[in-house]
C-alpha cells in the first residue's frame, strides 16, 4: 500500500478537513424493508441475546437432569402434554396471520395489514393464555426441586418473549389503526419477523420440557 499525504506531516492541522460533495443521495428511499433497515439488525441482535438466554436455561435443564437418577425426580409427576401441545399448535398457527400482515405491510396495503394484525393479536392472546395454563400443566411448583425450577425457568423465559411479542403486535395494531404513519410499515414487518423467531425457539424448549422427561 502506498501512503501519501498527511502521513509525512509532523504536526497536526488546526482546521477541519473540507468536504466536497460529489454524490447526491436525496433520491434514495427512506422506507425500506428487511435487512436494509437498521431495525431488522437491531431485532436480530436482541434475538441473539434472547436465544443465548434461552440456551442458558435449556443448558441448565440438561445439567440438572444429570444429577437425578430418575427423571423427573421421585414423587414428581410428569408434565401434562395436552395443553402445551395445543399451545404449540396455536403458536405455530399464529405465524399465518403474521406472515400475511407482513406481506401486506410491504405492499403498504393498510386494510389487509390491519385485518391480519388484529387476527394475529387475537391468536397470540390465546397463545399467551394457554401459556399461563402451561404453568399448571407442569404439575409441579417452581420451588419443589431443581427439576421444577429449571422447567419453570425455560417456560417462563420464553413466556416473557411471547408476552413481549404479543404486546408489541397489539401496540403496533393500535398505532396502525389510529395513526398510520408510513414509516411504521417496516416496523410492522419486523414484528412478524420477530414472531417467527419466537415460535422457532420455542420448539426445542417444548421438546426439552415436555418430551425429554418422557424419554429419559
Amino acid at each position: 500500500m502506498t501512503v501519501v499525504g498527511e502521513i509525512a506531516a509532523e504536526t497536526g492541522r488546526q482546521a477541519e478537513r473540507p468536504l466536497r460533495p460529489v454524490v447526491n443521495v436525496s433520491d434514495l428511499p427512506s422506507v425500506v424493508y428487511g435487512s436494509r433497515v437498521v431495525t431488522w439488525w437491531g431485532t436480530t441482535g436482541f434475538m441473539a441475546a434472547e436465544a443465548a438466554t434461552l440456551s442458558a436455561c435449556v443448558a441448565s435443564y440438561y445439567y440438572v437432569l444429570r444429577n437425578y437418577e430418575s427423571f423427573p425426580p421421585l414423587r414428581t409427576p410428569l408434565p401434562d402434554l395436552l395443553v402445551p401441545t395445543i399451545s404449540l399448535i396455536v403458536l405455530i398457527l399464529s405465524l399465518v396471520p403474521c406472515y400475511l400482515f407482513a406481506r401486506a405491510a410491504k405492499r403498504l396495503d393498510r386494510p389487509a395489514t390491519l385485518r391480519w394484525m388484529w387476527v394475529a393479536v387475537v391468536v397470540m392472546l390465546i397463545a399467551t393464555a394457554l401459556r399461563l395454563m402451561e404453568f399448571s400443566a407442569l404439575n409441579v411448583r417452581w420451588d419443589a426441586n431443581a427439576y421444577a425450577s429449571v422447567a419453570w425457568a425455560v417456560v417462563f423465559a420464553h413466556f416473557t418473549l411471547l408476552l413481549a411479542d404479543t404486546l408489541e403486535t397489539l401496540l403496533f395494531a393500535v398505532i396502525m389503526q389510529t395513526r398510520e404513519p408510513t414509516r411504521y410499515y417496516p416496523g410492522v414487518a419486523e414484528d412478524a419477523f420477530y414472531s417467527y423467531f419466537m415460535v422457532a425457539v420455542w420448539i426445542p424448549c417444548y421438546v426439552t420440557v415436555y418430551l425429554v422427561p418422557r424419554w429419559v
Partner: protein, 321 residues
C-alpha cells in the same frame, strides 16, 4: 529454592513435579518476555533513528515482506513453545494422578465447616475410625487418599508442600491425594473464599514416621480420661453445664455435640482456633473469653465465665492430652 511455605518448598511427589513444571514455565515465560521487550526496544531505536534522519515511515513492499516473514517466524516460535507447554502440562498431569498401584493407602475424609476442618480417618475396622479437628497427621511415605466434603459452603483443601488444591463442594464428593516424602510440620490454608473467617481457616499438617503416626493414632483413639484433681473436676463441670457443651464434644464425657470442633485431645494440638493461635494457656483463655476479638464473625460466642470457672476450665482442658 526452598522458600518456606511456598509451592517450591516441596515435600511430596505431586508438589515436586508441579514445582518442576512451574520453574520450567517461569523460565520460558521470562525468556519470552525478554525477547518481546528486546524486540520492542530495537523497534523503538530503529524508528527513532529514522526520525532523526528525517526519513518517512518505511512502507515499501520489500520491508513489508521482511516484516511479514519476521512476524510469521515469531508466530511459529510461539506455537512451538505452546506445543511444548501443552505437552509438558499433559505429562505432569499424568505424573501427579493418583497412583493406581498404591499399596496400603490411608483414606481420610475431610469435611469443611465455616471456619474449621474435620478429619475422619477411615479404617477397615469401624471402631478404629478416628475423628480429629484442625490437625492432620500423616505417615511419611504412605499415599493418602483424601475425600473432600463440605458441610456448608465451598472450601478448598491445600497443602502447598504436598499437592495443589482441590475444592470441597457441598453435594459433591471431590478427591485428591497426598504423600509426604519427608517429615515436617506445615500450615495449610483454606483456599476458596468462604466468608468472614476465610483468612483464619487453617490447619496444621504433621508428617511423621509411620511408628510415630501409629502412636499418635492410638492415643487419639482413646477417650478422654476422667478428671482427677478437684480443679479439673470443676472445669469438667463447667464444660458440661455451661455454654461449651452446646457445640463441642469430648469423647468419654456427656459432651457430644458436633457443631464445633471436637476437643477430646485438645491439649495435644499445636494450635487452637483453626490454626490461628499457638496452643498456650493464655491464648486458650483469651479465645474462650471472647473469640470475636480474635476472629470476628467466627461462630463461637463470647463466654461469660467467672475467673475461677475459667481457670478450672483451662485446668481441665489442659488435661486433655
Amino acid at each position: 529454592m526452598t522458600w518456606a511455605g511456598s509451592i517450591f518448598d516441596t515435600a511430596g511427589t505431586p508438589a515436586e513435579r508441579i514445582a518442576r513444571l512451574a520453574w520450567f514455565l517461569i523460565i520460558v515465560s521470562a525468556v519470552t518476555y525478554l525477547l518481546v521487550l528486546v524486540a520492542t526496544g530495537i523497534a523503538i531505536r530503529r524508528a527513532r533513528a529514522r526520525r532523526t534522519r528525517g526519513d518517512l515511515a518505511d512502507t515499501r513492499p520489500e520491508t513489508a515482506k521482511r516484516l511479514t516473514r519476521n512476524v510469521a517466524i515469531a508466530t511459529i516460535a510461539t506455537t512451538l513453545i505452546l506445543l511444548v507447554y501443552v505437552t509438558a502440562t499433559a505429562l505432569t498431569g499424568k505424573a501427579i494422578a493418583w497412583p493406581l498401584n498404591a499399596r496400603q493407602p490411608l483414606t481420610i475424609e475431610v469435611t469443611g465447616y465455616q471456619w474449621w476442618w474435620q478429619f475422619r480417618y477411615r479404617d477397615s475396622v469401624p471402631s478404629n475410625w478416628l475423628t480429629t479437628s484442625n490437625e492432620l497427621h500423616i505417615p511419611v511415605g504412605r499415599p493418602v487418599r483424601v475425600i473432600l466434603l463440605s458441610n456448608d459452603v465451598i472450601h478448598s483443601f491445600w497443602i502447598p508442600e504436598l499437592h495443589g488444591k482441590q475444592d470441597l463442594i457441598p453435594g459433591h464428593r471431590n478427591t485428591t491425594w497426598i504423600q509426604a516424602d519427608r517429615p515436617g510440620v506445615w500450615k495449610a490454608h483454606c483456599a476458596e473464599f468462604c466468608g468472614h473467617q476465610h483468612a483464619k481457616m487453617q490447619f496444621d499438617v504433621v508428617a511423621e514416621s509411620p511408628a510415630q503416626f501409629d502412636q499418635w493414632y492410638r492415643r487419639q483413639l482413646a477417650s478422654a480420661l476422667p478428671p482427677t484433681d478437684s480443679a479439673a473436676k470443676r472445669g469438667h463441670d463447667v464444660f458440661v453445664q455451661r455454654t461449651c457443651i452446646m457445640c463441642h464434644s469430648i469423647n468419654g464425657t456427656e459432651a457430644g455435640s458436633n457443631v464445633g470442633p471436637e476437643l477430646t485431645h485438645i491439649a495435644s494440638r499445636p494450635s487452637i482456633a483453626a490454626g490461628s493461635l499457638p496452643n498456650t494457656r493464655v491464648n486458650l483463655g483469651r479465645w474462650i473469653l471472647n473469640p470475636q476479638l480474635i476472629k470476628p464473625g467466627v461462630r463461637m460466642p463470647p463466654n461469660a465465665l467467672s475467673p475461677a470457672d475459667m481457670n478450672a476450665l483451662l485446668d481441665y482442658l489442659e488435661t486433655l492430652k
